[in-house]
Symmetry: C2
Subunit: 135 residues, 2 copies
Amino acid sequence: MTHPHPHHRGHRSRSRRGVGSEWRVHARVERFIEPALLLILRDGSTHGYELADSLADLVPAERIDMGNLYRMLRALEAEGIVESEWRDDLPGRNRRTYRLTEQGASLLDTWVDALDKANKTITAFLERYRDRREE
Amino acid sequence: MTHPHPHHRGHRSRSRRGVGSEWRVHARVERFIEPALLLILRDGSTHGYELADSLADLVPAERIDMGNLYRMLRALEAEGIVESEWRDDLPGRNRRTYRLTEQGASLLDTWVDALDKANKTITAFLERYRDRREE
DNA sequence: TTCACATATATGTGAAACACATATACTATG
DNA sequence: CATAGTATATGTGTTTCACATATATGTGAA
């Protein structure tokens, strides 16, 4: 499976108008791919290409960039957050299989706390939006 | 009121370790200042400097950068999302007072939809994290 | 009355995160 | 044996942002 995502090309969060004075906005959590990756690896080791498919489920709004994904995996390995092993015994092409280290599990926990906070901030925003709307 | 925020300098989302193999992570919604700004202006016109204080409440985890805030306000004005008026009649220093346009109100609505989605994505992530943890 | 501090707006600049393009090589299959 | 799918990787420009700095006016205390 490849990953075509034709929508809203060329921008980050907000694009110019679409048709009929509609705005298109994408609320992205910065570096969200990283905790998503860690969570997937916590539930079982895999290789980069398969991670992309799992990520597509966990982060539906995000187009997965394979180039940046592999770069991120090697950066995480350099920091001791994941470890990898090159497998040439498995059927199919050779691949590098990643697993989470203890350091990585600890980083995942830290991300979870941060995401909890982010969620509360967003929820507070949405509540304020709706509260004053209904006055 | 000025805005000192000494914590976690120099990085975006993830910093190197702190003391005792702890990670410090900040889950930021990209460009979140923009919708926060729009929401505050929906509830009443103000000027840039005061917006910073209101933002500090709405977005507690974020250090407010005045330079970028003023830049953003002028960019939003150029796009017709806010309108401003230079006031020299009020007590105190002259200031530029901003108000939300209809375009801006529509953009705020769009942001709300996007933030709703982001909230659901984060919630799904946290649920998956906790589910498998308790098995 | 001047010095310090708060208010208020603004520009310059470099780095991180990211989108998009492209390269490479092997495997499976019709 | 050509084509599509699997798998990993590098190159590069843009956006968003952190941090530094500039400028000018108002206010209160020494």
